[in-house]
Symmetry: C2
Subunit: 454 residues, 2 copies
C-alpha cells in the first residue's frame, strides 16, 4: 500500500519553508509596523457560521467534518436515506456534520468580531495569517489547503484606511524587490455607469462582464452584456466605460464628464481622487486607476484594489477593497471595513521566477562541528554553546564516523562553515574553521571565530 | 440564532497571540540555533495514513472529513445502512470519508520522511510547529485544537542526539526564566525489571502502572499489577523499582546492583550514564533520574524524557524520548529517532502564573499620531513613514475626530507614545511627543524622536 499526502495539499521541505517564512515574516512585519494586531481563529467553524456565505458553489467547496461518535442514530437512518435519494445533499450532510473547515479568513473574522465585541477597541486593525481549505478539484497552482494573509480595518469609514493599506502594499513589495502595478477602482463609479445604462439592478452582471475585459476582449464582453439583458443599442455602440484611457488625471477628467453629474458617480470620483491625492502625500508610487477592475464578487462597496506583478504572467497577487456591513450576517449591523489579502503562493512563484529571495535564504544553519570522538565532542559541546549564545546557529555531527561522511553531510546540508577540533586544537585552544565556499581554513580562538561569524 | 466558535476550540485575541508567539518564537529560535530545520505537512491526511496508529481510542478521536460532492452513491446506500445497523461504525465511516485531520505531528512526519526520502539528508533534524485536532470531550485545559512544537532527529543512533535535545530543553526554559526539573529514564531499565519479574511480555502493563505512582501511590500500583497477572509474591513485597532513592549517582549504584547483570539492564544503564555524563559536559543542570517515568504509550525504546515546572501544579510541560522504527508502518524500516515536544498551552499557563512574560509583550504598537485634519495628516503620513523605516511601529488615527476620542483609543490600545502635529509643529518642524505612562511631553525634531524611540 502506498501512503501519500492528500491530493491538492502540500508538504513543505525546509528550503521551501525558509522561503515561505521570508514571505510571511515580511508581510507580518509591515502589518505590525502599521499597528495591525494579530489574531487567530480555529480551523473549524460550525457549519451554520459558514454555510450560505459563499454562494451555492462555495457551500459545495466547504470541507465538512463528520460528527464524532455515533454520527447517525438508528431512528434517523430512514430520513437520511430518503434525503439522499431525493438529492437533498445539503440536508443529508447537516444530519451527520455540524462543523466545517474555514473557507476564508473573512467570515471567521466577522464571527470573531461579534463574539469579542467587548474585548476589542474600534477602529480595530487586525491581521491574520492562517491556512484555509477548499474542496476544489486540484490543478496546477490551485490547492485545497493554502495560506491567506489578511489585514482589515473595521469600524472606521475614513479613507485614510485605504491609503494605509496601499502604503502597506507598496512597502511589502518594495521589501520583496518586486516591481508591481497597483490597480485602483471604486465600486460607486461602476454603479454610476450601471445607472447611466438604466441597469442599476444589474451592477453585478456589468462588473462580472467587464472584469473579464483583459481575458476575453471588448467584443465578448459586449456579447455577454447583451445576453444579460443590456440593450442592443448600448452594447452595439462602444460602451464609454470600456473606452476611458490615458493617465490617472486624464481618466478622472473623462469620468467627470461622463458620470460627474450623478450623485453616486460624484461620490465615487471624490473617494478615488482623495485616495490618489493622499497616496501621493504618502509617496506611494505606481497606482493606476483601472475601471475594468471589479473583482468578481458582489462584495465591495467602495475602493477596489488589485496588484499585478510587472513582467510576470500570473494574474493578481494581492487584492482587497472596502465593504459594508461585515458582521451584519451575524446580527451586528453597521460595521464596515476595508481590507487586503496577499496571495502568498503566487508571490512565492514571482520571487522564484525573478530570483528575488535573499541570498542567505538557503543557509539554515551556520556551522557544523566535525565529531572526532568523546573528548573532542565534549569540547565541541562547550564551544557550540558559546557560539549559540552569540546568535550563531550550529550543530555537532552526532557520530564520530569517517571524516568523509561528515563532510558529505556538511556539503549536502550546505553549511557555510565547518569547525574541526582535534587533540592539537584542544591543547592550543585554537580551532580550525573551514569556509565551505572558498575552501579556505583558518586557525582561530573562540573570540576570533565569533568575530568572524557574527 | 447565535453564532459561536466550535466547542473546545479557541479564538486568540491580540494580547494572547503576542504571548503565544513569544513562546513559539523562543522555541523556534532555539531549535534553529541547534540546526533543526522547519517542515510543514497538510492539516488533512488520508485516513489510511492515520487509522490504526493511535490505538482504538485514538481512531475514535480522529476528526474525519466527509468526502466532497455526492459522498454516498445510491447503490452503496444499502451497504452503508447495514454497516451502521451492525454497529460497524469504522467501516461505515470509511465509505463516506477518506480523509481526516492530523492527530499529532509524528505520524505525518513519518509519512513525510517516506515520501521525501530522496529530498532529505540523514541524519535529518526537523522541527514542526502546527496545530493538531482531537475529537476529545472538551474540558478545562483540554482542547480539540492545539499546537504541538516537535523536534526530532532521525537516522542516527548516537546518544549525542539525546544530549542535544536536553540542551534545547535547558536553553528554552532558561530563556523563559522558568525553573524546571528534567526527568530522565530509559525504557531498557524498565525492561530489565520486567525481565527480573519474569514478565517481559508485560512491560507495557508494568510501565503503565508505575507511570501512575505519583498520582495513585505505591499500594494502588501494586494492586493494578496484581490485576494484570504479576505474581502475589512480587506485589506483596516492595517492588525494588519503586524503592530506588537518592541522588542520580546513588540511584545508578542501586540499579547496577539490581539489574547490572542482565544484558538489557546493563545496556540501559550505560545509555543513561552516557547521557548524564555528556549533559554535565554541556553544562545542563537539573536532570533527575526518575524510574517511574514511563510516559504511557508503549512507544519509546531508549531514553524517556519529561519536564516538570517547579512550583507550578500542572503536570508535564515537555516530553519525549527515543523510538525505533518510526517509518516501519509506512514500509520503510530501520529508521530510528529521538524527539521532544513542548506543551505550549501548559507553558503559557506557567508563564502567566509566574508572571514571566516579558514586560513589553503587551506593547503591540509604539506610537499613535493624533489626527488634526488634512494638512496635519499629510505631515503625519510622511513622518510615520520615516519612523517605520527606523523600525518604529506606528499608526495615524484614521479620522480627525475629537482629541478626547483619539486619546481614549490611545489608552485602550495601550500605546506607550502619542505624537501630535498641529499647525505650529508643522511650521517649526518639531513635534510633540507624549509619553503615555509618565504623561511627560517633549517637543522634538524627527531625529530626536527616532533617537528616543529606537
Amino acid at each position: 500500500m502506498e501512503y501519500k499526502s492528500v491530493k491538492g495539499t502540500r508538504d513543505f521541505l525546509p528550503l521551501q519553508m525558509q522561503k515561505r517564512n521570508y514571505i510571511f515574516d515580511t508581510i507580518k512585519q509591515v502589518y505590525r509596523n502599521h499597528g495591525f494586531l494579530p489574531i487567530e481563529t480555529p480551523a473549524m467553524e460550525n457549519l451554520q457560521t459558514l454555510m450560505g456565505k459563499y454562494g451555492d458553489e462555495g457551500d459545495k467547496l466547504l470541507f465538512k467534518i463528520l460528527d464524532s461518535g455515533n454520527f447517525l442514530r438508528e431512528e434517523k437512518t430512514e430520513e437520511f436515506v430518503s434525503r439522499l435519494q431525493n438529492g437533498e445533499l445539503n440536508k443529508a450532510t447537516k444530519m451527520i456534520c455540524e462543523k466545517g473547515l474555514r473557507y476564508d479568513l473573512t467570515v471567521p473574522f466577522a464571527r470573531f468580531v461579534v463574539n469579542h465585541q467587548n474585548d476589542i477597541v474600534l477602529p480595530f486593525k487586525r491581521y491574520q495569517i492562517q491556512p484555509v481549505w477548499r474542496a476544489d478539484r486540484p490543478q496546477k497552482g490551485r490547492y485545497r489547503e493554502f495560506y491567506q494573509c489578511d489585514a482589515d480595518v473595521i469600524g472606521s469609514n475614513s479613507l485614510m484606511n485605504e491609503v494605509e493599506l496601499l502604503q502597506i502594499i507598496d512597502e511589502v513589495f518594495t521589501l520583496f524587490g518586486l516591481p508591481i502595478s497597483i490597480k485602483l477602482n471604486n465600486r460607486k463609479i461602476l454603479a454610476a455607469f450601471a445607472q447611466m445604462l438604466e441597469k442599476e439592478d444589474c451592477l453585478t452582471d456589468l462588473t462580472v462582464a467587464i472584469d473579464k475585459l483583459d481575458k476575453i476582449g471588448q467584443q465578448k464582453v459586449l456579447e455577454e452584456l447583451k445576453d444579460k439583458g443590456f440593450s442592443e443599442k448600448d452594447c452595439n455602440s462602444d460602451l464609454p466605460i470600456l473606452n476611458i484611457n490615458g493617465n490617472n488625471a486624464e481618466k478622472i477628467a473623462q469620468l467627470h464628464e461622463l458620470i460627474g453629474n450623478t450623485e453616486i458617480g460624484k461620490q465615487g470620483l471624490e473617494e478615488l481622487q482623495y485616495v490618489l491625492e493622499k497616496s501621493k502625500q504618502a509617496d506611494i508610487k505606481s497606482i493606476e486607476v483601472d475601471l475594468t477592475l471589479a473583482r468578481g464578487l458582489n462584495y465591495y462597496t467602495g475602493a477596489i484594489i488589485e496588484v499585478k506583478a510587472l513582467d510576470v504572467e500570473i494574474g493578481s497577487i494581492t487584492g482587497g477593497g472596502r465593504y459594508d456591513n461585515l458582521t451584519g450576517i451575524f446580527g451586528m449591523p453597521g460595521i464596515s471595513g476595508v481590507g487586503i489579502s496577499f496571495g502568498a503562493d503566487r508571490i512565492y512563484d514571482c520571487l522564484e521566477e525573478k530570483n528575488l529571495f535573499p541570498e542567505n535564504t538557503g543557509v539554515l544553519t551556520s556551522v557544523l562541528f566535525i565529531n572526532f570522538g568523546e573528548e573532542e565532542s565534549n569540547h565541541a559541546l562547550r564551544l557550540s554553546g558559546v557560539l549559540r549564545k552569540n546568535g550563531i546557529s550550529c550543530e555537532i555531527y552526532p557520530e564520530s564516523v569517517k571524516m568523509k561522511k561528515q563532510m558529505k553531510y556538511a556539503n549536502d546540508r550546505k553549511f557555510p562553515y565547518v569547525i574541526m577540533i582535534g587533540e592539537e586544537e584542544i591543547k592550543n585552544q585554537k580551532y580550525v574553521l573551514k569556509d565551505m565556499v572558498s575552501g579556505e581554513q583558518f586557525t582561530l580562538s573562540t573570540e576570533e571565530i565569533i568575530e568572524k561569524l557574527k
